[in-house]
Structure formats: structure tokens, C-alpha cells
Subunit: 376 residues, 2 copies
């Protein structure tokens, strides 16, 4: 173990590799899940329009939930009293909680070394999030994997601002680990991941990665990417960070879920992803297909009796014609966003499973070329 | 046959009776369904928040769809081109379409003997619905059971207004039958139901029933009830109409779906029901339970880890705690109205199945008393 914890609550096993890419398994106290892994985003303890049963049927293995939103509604103590997110939602899979930082930093908070002070988007009330309270809240939420509180920037940002974010992220990471360690010593099954920042500056990414690894965590997120920069700016920064991260633990590229970005990141050695892209696109009628994006609102589909994607094995493609899905969306029936979300999530989860198969078969490069041709 | 049609596209078989109540089966070209039967309302060719697959899983056998809405969006010819509502929606059960009259009359249309002229609520465009076009549109929609265009009133209404509605409804019924007959002679499998009007005037109800039966239909709706009058006003008017309707065909009480109203109507000899009540209540957080209505938004449920109704066998009660459902509704997650709709529909469909079992066991009176005690 390089985490510095005395236990082994999270164990990563790389079953097959293809270049830097790994097809692996993550083992926790709850069970195990395969990597590469896409984690659907359940902001308020639910993936928008779906139920935990739907998510299970889709074969998702990890749900991401949002500390910021759950802290405010219904409150961490309520969820804690109901057995954590698992008891509250009846979701049997793994749960990863973000630290709340990403949402808080989008609210233009007052930030100092102690933490971030922000106003609730629900009722305007004032709240303070620190590395220590983020750990305590995620403990109440009962996540299988916690994330440390980090400083999230939108890009572009000045070098000075990026450096200061790296410094404070490192400071907070050490405090988060210190806050989390007593629970771990007492037998907590929750894992804690550190987060690498550094914008698109490769040197800063390396420095941030080295400092985070020095503190030692059960896994590592790479945050602050896919926040305004191009893919050509993102991938070298990601590669720089990954270079310094240990092989034996999961690496999580936060907030990335576009097909090309994911497959390229897997090739660099990333294991975990989350993104609102598939669910948000679905709600607006944009569907992921083997031929690229399809806009179901197009008039051309008004009498189309075919499925969204003839090559897709999801329950929606198996049953409903495009014309019906288009109609439901046009007349604002809530059934539409749900069915389209099911398709997009199925499609993206299947893309990740196919990527895993490509690694196992040693043909990841060919697979990257195929995805690039359809989606580049 | 008393319908006057030369064929037998719809056949009703009363398997068991208990007083005037019947537990029966309706046979059509599509198959068969059991009565008493509650038909969930799929206004725009979908039950709001659910999918046809959900409806199938709930054990619903007939979906009601709305001619007015489908005529305007996506248009009857579009649905016709896709194989009717069945092909369009992939719903394998029976479909009954209303004639559009109920919605059109709520829009304060210009009405004369030819029909009703109204403005679309979608785009303000002007449309005309006549007994003949209502038949033609429902033919394109491919309903298993069509309803004639009738004159729908809100109650209270003056005696003169009610009488004039009865007259025009009878005139239109004869024209609807004439318009429908050529298709029937040519082998159409679609059934056509007449509609009895007459407000809460028992004599007018009898007259309307007699005149509608004289024209002859495959079944009979009793319309214009549950539109503002009390239950004590409704039931005698219903009984008066039923007295004149033939035994050998289905009788459909339109727009009624409250537990007591349904069970009382079954006792009088009604077979079919539709109502937006269970789905609309669900979307506002009001749930049907064996102990009466439950308002899930109540703060008392914030940390309640029990199911909506411990006696309910639905998929929602089997899995999710009240606290989670309340949270999802409070933060406006679309998953909430869907799960609550599933519960309410399951609960009401189960109420109807239990009513059927009570008839079969000759204990309908005891069942009426139980429902009255919980819901009266």
C-alpha cells in the first residue's frame, strides 16, 4: 500500500493491460466493480429521471452523489439516520461522493485557508465547507469512496491563480487525510481519494500529483480538467499527472464523459469517469449512437418507425420507434427524458464495456481510431 | 347482439355476478381483458411519467388515449402511418380512445348540430370536430374501442341545457354509428360505444339511455358524471341510466376513479372506469393507501424508513423508504412523480382486482363497507 493507511479498504487489481491502459477490478468492503468504469451522476441521490432500480438494470456499478446538494437537502444527518445513501436510496451498488468543492466553487464563494463559505442555492442560507467538514459529511453520507475538498478553477486561469489552487489543494488534502484517519483506524470501510489540480500546466500537474501522492490516498482524482480547455490542452496535462500517480490504485478523471475523451484517457491509464453529459444531452433530445450524435427533435424523425440506434441493445431501442420518442419530447411528456436518458446511459456504459474488451484483446489502438472516426 | 352491427367485434361475458355487479371478460380481435377494469389515462399516448412497458408491468389491460390531444400532436395521420396507437407506442394491450368531446367542451367551443369548433391549446389554430370526423380520427388512431362524440356539460346546469345536450348527443350518436358502419361492414375490428348523458336528472338519464340503446352500440359509456355534483347526486343518476342499458355489453362510467365511487358503481353494474385521479394525485404527492390518503410531503416522513403502504405489493413499496420518496419530490426530481404514479396506479388496479375477487366470492357488500370505512 502507498496510501499510508494501515488497512486495505480499497484494492485495485489490473487484470489486463494494453499499453498504459488497464482493465481491472476495484475491491471494497461492499464488493467489487470493473474498470474502466463510468459512474452516472446522481446529484441529489438519484440519476435525474431514473430510479436506483433503473440504474441497476442498466448495469451501472457506481453511482456518484453530490455532497453539496445532499448537505443542503435533505441534510447529511437525515441520510445518516437512514443508513447513508445506500439505505436512503436502496441503491445496492457502490457510491462515490464528491466533496462538494466543484459546486461550491461555481457559486463564487469566499475562500481562505480554512475552507469555503457559500450561500445555499435553495434558500440563500450561509454554509462553510472545510476539508474536515467535507470528510465528516461524506462519512454521514456513507460513501464507499470519499473525495477530498479541493480548489476547483474554471479555465483559462492565470498561472498565479493555478499555482495558488495547487498549494491550497495540497494543504487541504493533508488536513482531509488527518481528519479521515481516526475513522480508518477505527475500522471505517470508506476509502478516501486525493485530487490532483494544476490546470493545463504540465509542470504544475506533476508537482500537484507528486505532493498528493506524498500525502497518500486510496486512489487519485484528476480534477480541474474539461472545464473550458480543448482536448489537445487537456490530454497532455492529464498525461503529466498520471505519470506521477502510482500504478496500483485507481485513477479517476473527474467530469469527463465524452466518447473520445474517455477512450483517450483510458489509453493514458485512467480507470474511472463521471459526467453529466449523457444524462443532460438526453434531456435535450441529443442521443449517443454508433454513428455519432442524433437529434431526436428533427422533423425527419416524425414518422420514423426505427429505433434510436439499430445496433443498440437497450430496452428503449428494443421497443420504441423514434417517432414516438420524438412526439413525447415535443409535447413535454416526462416519459421522454427518462427513456432517452436510459438509452444514453446504456450506450455510454456499453462503450466503456467495449473499451474494456478492447484492452483485454490488445486492440485498444484500433478501438480508439474507430471512436475517433465516429465522434472526433 | 343488440348493437345492430352484423358482426361480433366485441363480446362481453359475465362470468360471475353478485347482485347487479358483474365480474366478466371482454373479448375483442386483440384479445381479452377482465372486468371490472380501470383504464389508466394516457392523454398524449402515454400515461404521464410512465412508459408503455411500465404500464404493462403494472398489469393494466386497457389504456385510454385522448383524441383531442393526439389529433393536434402528432396528428392522427402520423399515428395512422405508424400502425395506430399500438404501433406508435408499442403498447400491446387494449386501447380505448375518447372522442375528444370532453376536452373540446372544456374549451368553450362554438357548437351547432354539425359539431364543435374550437381553438388548439397548442398553437391557437381552429379545428372542427363532428360526429363523423371523430369516428374517422379514431379509426386512424386504431383504437380497439371508439367513443362517439357527445355533448359534455359541467354540473350544475339548467334543465333546458341538460335536455338540449341529451338531444344533440342522440343526434350525434346516430350519425357516428352511420359513419362507423361502412368500416364495420368492411371488417373493421374496432368497436364503437355510445354515451348516455342527462346530468343528474333521472328521467333524462333514462331517456338518454333508451335512445342510445335504440341506436345500438357495442357498449355504453355513462358520461357527464363526476363533473361537479356530489356522490349522492351521481349514484341515482347512474343507476337510472344503467337500468335501461342491456346486460350483455360493457358499461363504462367515464371519468370516475375514486375508490368509493368505483366500488359503488361496480355494485350498480358498471364494468369500466377511467380517471386521471390516481396519476394526478401522485404527481402532487398524495398517495392511495389501505388507510386512506397519505401526503408524502408531510415533514413527519422526512426520516421515515417504511414503505408508502406496508400492505402494498408494488415495486415502489417493495424498495423505497418514504423519506427518499419525500426527498425526491421536495427537490423536484422527476423520479418522484414517476415512482408515486407507479404506486397509485398499482394500488388502484389492485383495488379493482380485489373488487373482482369480492364479486366472485359473493362478498361485495362487505367489501363496499370496508372501502367506505377507509375512504368514505
Amino acid at each position: 500500500m502507498t496510501s499510508g493507511f494501515e488497512d486495505d479498504v480499497l484494492r485495485f487489481e489490473a487484470e489486463v493491460t494494453d499499453g498504459s491502459a488497464r482493465a481491472g477490478v476495484v475491491h471494497t468492503a461492499r464488493g467489487s466493480f470493473q474498470t474502466p468504469c463510468f459512474m452516472p451522476v446522481g446529484t441529489r441521490a438519484v440519476v435525474r429521471t431514473l430510479s436506483p432500480a433503473d440504474l441497476e438494470a442498466l448495469g451501472a456499478e457506481v453511482m456518484l452523489a453530490n455532497t453539496y446538494h445532499l448537505l443542503l437537502r435533505p441534510g447529511a444527518s437525515t441520510i445518516g439516520a437512514l443508513g447513508g445513501i445506500h439505505g436512503f436510496t436502496a441503491w445496492p451498488g457502490h457510491v462515490l461522493t464528491d466533496s462538494g468543492g466543484y459546486q461550491v466553487f461555481s457559486l463564487d464563494p469566499r475562500v481562505d485557508d480554512s475552507g469555503a463559505t457559500f450561500r445555499s442555492t435553495y434558500d440563500g442560507s450561509t454554509h462553510h465547507l472545510s476539508p474536515e467538514t467535507a470528510v465528516a459529511i461524506q462519512q454521514q453520507l456513507g460513501a464507499d469512496i470519499q473525495m477530498v475538498l479541493d480548489v476547483c478553477l474554471a479555465l483559462p486561469a492565470s498561472g498565479e491563480v493555478v499555482r495558488s489552487a495547487v498549494e491550497r489543494t495540497a494543504l487541504w488534502a493533508a488536513r482531509a487525510k488527518a481528519a479521515h484517519s481516526p475513522a480508518r483506524a477505527a475500522g471505517s470501510p470508506q476509502a478516501l481519494f486525493g485530487i490532483v489540480q494544476g490546470g493545463i500546466d504540465e509542470a504544475l500537474r506533476k508537482e500537484s500529483a507528486a505532493r498528493t501522492v506524498e500525502i497518500g490516498f486510496d486512489g487519485y482524482g484528476v480534477g480541474g480538467l474539461s472545464v473550458g480547455e480543448t482536448r489537445d490542452e487537456m490530454l497532455p496535462a492529464l498525461a503529466a499527472a498520471l505519470e506521477l500517480l502510482p500504478e496500483g490504485v485507481p485513477r479517476y478523471l473527474m467530469g469527463v464523459g465524452d466518447p473520445v475523451g474517455m477512450v483517450e484517457a483510458v489509453a493514458l491509464g485512467v480507470d474511472l469517469f463521471d459526467c453529466v453529459l449523457p444524462t443532460r444531452l438526453a434531456r435535450h433530445g441529443t442521443l449517443l449512437t454508433s454513428a455519432g450524435r442524433l437529434h431526436i427533435k428533427n422533423a425527419a424523425f416524425a414518422r420514423d418507425d426505427g429505433p434510436i440506434d439499430a445496433g443498440c441493445a437497450c430496452a428503449v431501442c428494443a421497443r420504441y420507434p423514434r417517432a414516438y420518442l420524438r412526439h413525447l419530447l415535443q409535447v413535454h411528456e416526462p416519459t421522454a427524458p427518462r427513456l432517452l436518458t436510459m438509452h444514453n446511459l446504456h450506450w455510454l456504459l456499453e462503450l466503456v464495456r467495449a473499451t474494456r474488451r478492447a484492452i483485454a484483446a490488445g486492440r485498444l489502438d484500433r478501438w480508439r481510431a474507430e471512436i475517433g472516426a465516429a465522434w472526433g
